[in-house]
């Protein structure tokens, strides 16, 4: 990650991490794996997509993450694909 990206992302990281605390254990576990993998190394595109996903209601989010439902939103697809592979 380059320096410019770091300064743009850094203040958001803690907030994004906390917003991964969900009401459903299923989601907690998936996001735990996600952070274990990425550490603090999150690019801006992924952070933006994550922020949008995290704004969803828990059940809707779980349907997407588990693959029970699909989205045709091109910004979300790559991250969802990654989350499903974890």
């Amino acid at each position: 990650m380059n320096a410019a990206a770091e300064s743009a992302i850094d203040p958001r990281l803690g907030r994004l991490r906390w917003h991964c605390r969900r009401a459903l254990l299923e989601l907690d576990l998936v996001f735990q794996r996600f952070w274990d993998k990425v550490g603090d190394d999150l690019d801006i595109e992924t952070a933006d997509a994550l922020e949008r996903l995290l704004a969803l209601e828990d059940h809707d989010l779980w349907y997407l993450v588990s693959g029970r439902e699909e989205t045709d939103d091109p910004q979300l697809q790559p991250l969802l694909y990654r989350l499903r592979q974890l």
Binding site: A23, L25, L29
Partner: protein, 589 residues
């Protein structure tokens, strides 16, 4: 470290079902009410509840609150207080209909009335046959409930403090509660919420166990805060285990899977439930199935490398049926066990699900210690112990508990405040204790790792105070957990930043978890009988002690005090409000 003070009439900690229900009562009475929550209200753990909420509406068949009361007393293995149970069951219809008026989209019958489905342990005519008592909103009951109540609170001008972590109770020398200290996660600022009424609705602490169906947020903060302020915790030895959590992950596999024909098997492929429950087999009650599973594992017939789980097999079912009748199960298997349940069985273990004990209250929602009311302090929901669930909770009764006792705690607080209770001069010595705790965490050098200490606690609880309890394991468990608590007292965090420092939040949560874990282990070691969810292998089924339950010596509530890990006991309230006592009987279904 400094802090600021904010004054409210009432401060509620927790914005799940119980907190939101209580807040409606206070705000609609025109009182200035603050609600604090670690997460956005509609992300509270109540969202996970799908099964429904119990009420004897009798919309599909005859039902009565007295039958519901009987089921709840029996389910509790007679440890529930019969005054509180009568109160809850009588109030059920009222709070469910109220919720409907708040806009809750319940499933409906063709005639427009709320649709009701059967649920384990709920029967008609004093235990005769199953009855339809559970009201649900598709598979999103808890979620819909929170939405309806959140909207109602917004209208009533409840002031929400979202992503705030309450840290400690403010309690003065006379024992009166004056509010809480809390941290704004976004800035790291500490604020003393100075209130005339303080109400805890912080939910359960299921994360003390290694295998838990609870989301990460259930860290028992309210219990930790109460314990540190010298208030005892009641009946903490009683935890409900669900038989089928995914091994290693905890995610709940609904009972519906066995209902559709799922079979539990050991390492030899044997359908072992035939030996333990020849009639009901895999559909026997939760505690019977859980114990059978643990016995198989303990006797070396578990599966996998460590022989530490059994298998839930649905490979004989038609894939179409699985996809249609058990939606979501396949995804859970794939994600958390790496198994396609259409082709291979799922690894499962009994998993911690619900906390029956908590902060002692009466049915008015006031916190009480041996009948003595703690002025200014109220509690409701899973963090509280009224006690309606006693030694074992019936499914769908906890959403009911939130509504009934959220409301009644709110009503009592309103009445107390309207009688003119004033703000007492702020007890700054309590606040100094919080600041010292934060300071310790910020400056600790060479301390223990939070993640490792938490894992040690969870493993200790799982091994020593799980589904099936043994005298020697419990005794060792007490020593082990006290050792872990020494580590928790010296946790260290590397990241000292102020903004959304999740490492600090987790360290502070661990301070609460360890209080709950210690209370559980010590209370469990001391109770020398089996009752409801507390099952000891050395408590035998005799005429005087049915299923190992020893009413002569143990028909009493445990109270654990943090100071010196002292235990006291108090009698069970056997006298209901208006009907006859439901007399002691062997609990059999």
């Amino acid at each position: 470290m400094s802090y600021t003070v904010r004054k409210f009439d009432a401060v509620i900690v927790g914005a799940g079902g119980a907190g939101l229900r209580a807040a409606i009562q206070l705000s609609e009475a025109g009182l200035k009410t603050a609600v604090l929550s670690k997460v956005f209200p509609t992300r509270s753990h109540t969202v996970a509840a799908q099964g429904g909420v119990a009420a004897s509406l009798g919309n599909s068949e005859e039902d009565h609150w007295h039958w519901h009361m009987y089921d709840t007393v029996k389910g509790s293995d007679w440890l529930g207080d019969q005054d509180a149970i009568e109160f809850m069951c009588r109030k059920a219809n009222e709070v469910v209909v109220e919720l409907e008026h708040y806009g809750m989209p319940f499933d409906r019958l063709d005639n427009g009335k709320i649709y009701q489905r059967p649920f384990g342990g709920h029967m008609s005519n004093f235990g005769e046959k199953p009855v339809r008592r559970s009201c649900a909103a598709a598979d999103r009951t808890g979620h819909a409930m929170l939405h309806a109540m959140y909207q109602r609170n917004v209208k009533a001008n409840t002031q929400f403090f979202v992503e705030w972590q309450a840290l400690d109770l403010i309690r003065d020398e006379e024992g009166d509660v004056q509010g809480v200290t809390a941290m704004d996660m976004e800035t790291g600022d500490v604020v003393a919420f100075h209130a005339r009424a303080t109400l805890f609705a912080t939910g359960g602490a299921g994360r003390i166990f290694h295998s838990s169906t609870n989301a990460f947020i259930n860290t028992g903060d309210g219990l930790g805060m109460a314990a540190r302020a010298g208030i005892p915790l009641e009946d903490m030895e009683f935890w409900q285990f669900h038989p089928t959590g995914v091994a290693g992950a905890g995610v709940l596999i609904t009972e519906g899977v066995r209902g559709e024909g799922g079979i539990l098997r050991n390492s030899a492929g044997e359908r072992f439930m035939e030996r333990y429950a020849p009639n009901a087999k895999d559909l026997a009650s939760r505690d019977v199935v859980s114990r059978a599973m643990v016995t198989e594992i303990n006797e070396g017939r578990g599966c996998g490398h460590n022989k530490d789980y059994v298998l839930l097999d649905i490979t004989h079912l038609d894939p179409g049926t699985i996809m249609k009748r058990l939606p979501g199960i396949r995804e859970i298997g794939l994600q958390f066990a790496g198994v396609d349940c259409i082709k291979e069985p799922l690894p499962v273990v009994p998993t911690c699900h619900y906390q029956m004990g908590g902060i002692p209250t009466n049915y008015h929602g006031q916190v009480v210690v041996h009948d003595q009311v703690i002025n200014g302090f109220y509690a409701a929901g899973e963090c509280a112990c009224a006690s309606v669930h006693g030694a074992n909770r019936l499914g769908t009764n906890s959403l009911l508990d939130l509504l009934v006792f959220g409301k009644s705690a709110g009503e009592t607080a309103v009445a107390d405040l309207q009688q003119g209770r004033a703000h007492k001069p702020l007890h700054t010595a309590s606040i100094d204790k919080t600041l010292a705790r934060l300071d310790r965490l910020n400056t600790q050098k060479g301390g223990a790792n939070v993640h490792e200490a938490r894992l040690a606690m969870q493993r200790t609880m799982q091994k020593h105070a799980g589904v099936f309890r043994f005298d020697n394991l419990l005794k060792e468990g007490v020593a082990e957990i006290l050792k872990v608590s020494e580590d928790v007292a010296r946790t260290e965090i590397k990241d000292k930043s102020q903004v959304f420092n999740t490492a600090r939040v987790e360290a502070l949560e661990l301070d609460n978890l360890i209080e709950v874990a210690t209370a559980t282990m010590i209370s469990a070691e001391a109770r020398k009988e089996s009752r409801g969810a507390h099952v000891r292998d050395d408590a035998h089924d005799t005429a005087e002690t049915p299923n190992g339950r020893d009413d002569k010596n143990w028909l009493k509530h445990t109270l654990w005090y943090r100071e010196g890990n002292r235990l006291e006991y108090k009698p069970v309230q056997m006298k209901p409000l208006s009907v006859e006592t439901i007399e002691l009987k062997k609990r059999a279904y």
